[in-house]
Symmetry: C2
Subunit: 190 residues, 2 copies
């Protein structure tokens, strides 16, 4: 395999020549927000882009690494801030790292054994998602939250486990103009 | 294992709370530069800092990822620009990724089968070092070259193979005020 490079726009997060550019609109994750009345009302007027991911793909083999940049746009669904779907890795023992490039946010984490954590993200934060921790990111600022991420190419994604649990145990909501961590009332422990 | 974060100064590359901070002075890599007269002359006046690495360590296990920031200072030894020692991974099938944060440089790569490549680094370059490729970085600018790197925690480092080969097959020298790629006259194919 030959070496190669791509160019990340460090201001916007866009990758020139990315292998994939995934976009996630509200309609694709409508069940993930708590306030279903707010979801319905927003979707009557349009289908906003919540987040996008530029991926630099390589063979999904042990020893290879996938790079991506995630851009979460600013906004809320009811009081809940825009966020990613979140996932476990299919191979549960694969870690992930993030380097936050711009914006303000939270990284929500949880294990199948019931542990949960929230970590603030700001420019320069190097966050470690250890093996076995599901991870979701949330934009609590008024500009895009942009971060570069790396994970083992054989990790895989498991979104279903999160859906079965009705999301993450923690959620990030706007209260009095500031982000507040709250317990997800519908969360199901495994 | 619990999630954690550290803070990278995106301008300077320094990591607050890094597990390790390695520094490499000229005396520690004196044999790696071609112009041994220039090495001796510089060392008579002092022992300049060539590069430093801030590392965020985790258990050296399959599935975990090591993050580091490398800062190569600007300068030359004779006509050859300041550079890192360079290495293969002990586990040859482990890749590495770099995100260049500031400065101007080159990434030199080679395989044990005799292939070699050079890749330019500038802010935003996301470089892929595939499995089996040795890698060295070179600062050709007049400011520090700073890049964030990630590699599998079980990769290990093999510096000896590079020393046995008398370095990399390519070298980067200043010619007429600009960087030029040249063949290393002492390079030994394996």
């Amino acid at each position: 395999m030959e070496p190669f490079s791509r160019t990340v726009d460090l201001a916007t997060g866009k990758i020139s020549g990315a292998s994939n550019h995934w976009v996630r609109h509200l309609s694709e994750m409508r069940d993930m927000y708590q306030d279903q009345g707010a979801v319905a009302e927003i979707l009557r007027a349009g289908d906003p882009l919540i987040y996008e991911v530029y991926e630099i793909a390589v063979p999904e083999e042990e020893g290879q690494l996938i790079q991506c940049v995630t851009i979460i746009h600013p906004g809320r669904v009811g009081s809940e801030y825009y966020m990613t779907k979140g996932h476990y890795h299919k191979k549960r023992d694969r870690a992930e790292v993030y380097l936050c490039l711009s914006g303000q946010g939270y990284l929500l984490l949880q294990t199948e054994e019931g542990a949960s954590q929230a970590m603030e993200l700001e420019p320069g934060t190097a966050a470690y998602v250890p093996p076995h921790w599901a991870h979701r990111t949330v934009n609590v600022g008024d500009r895009p939250l942009v971060f570069y991420g790396v994970y083992p190419a054989d990790a895989g994604h498991d979104y279903e486990a999160i859906e079965e649990q009705h999301g993450f145990s923690l959620m990030v909501c706007e209260r009095g103009g500031r982000p507040a961590l709250e317990k997800n009332p519908h969360f199901k422990r495994r």
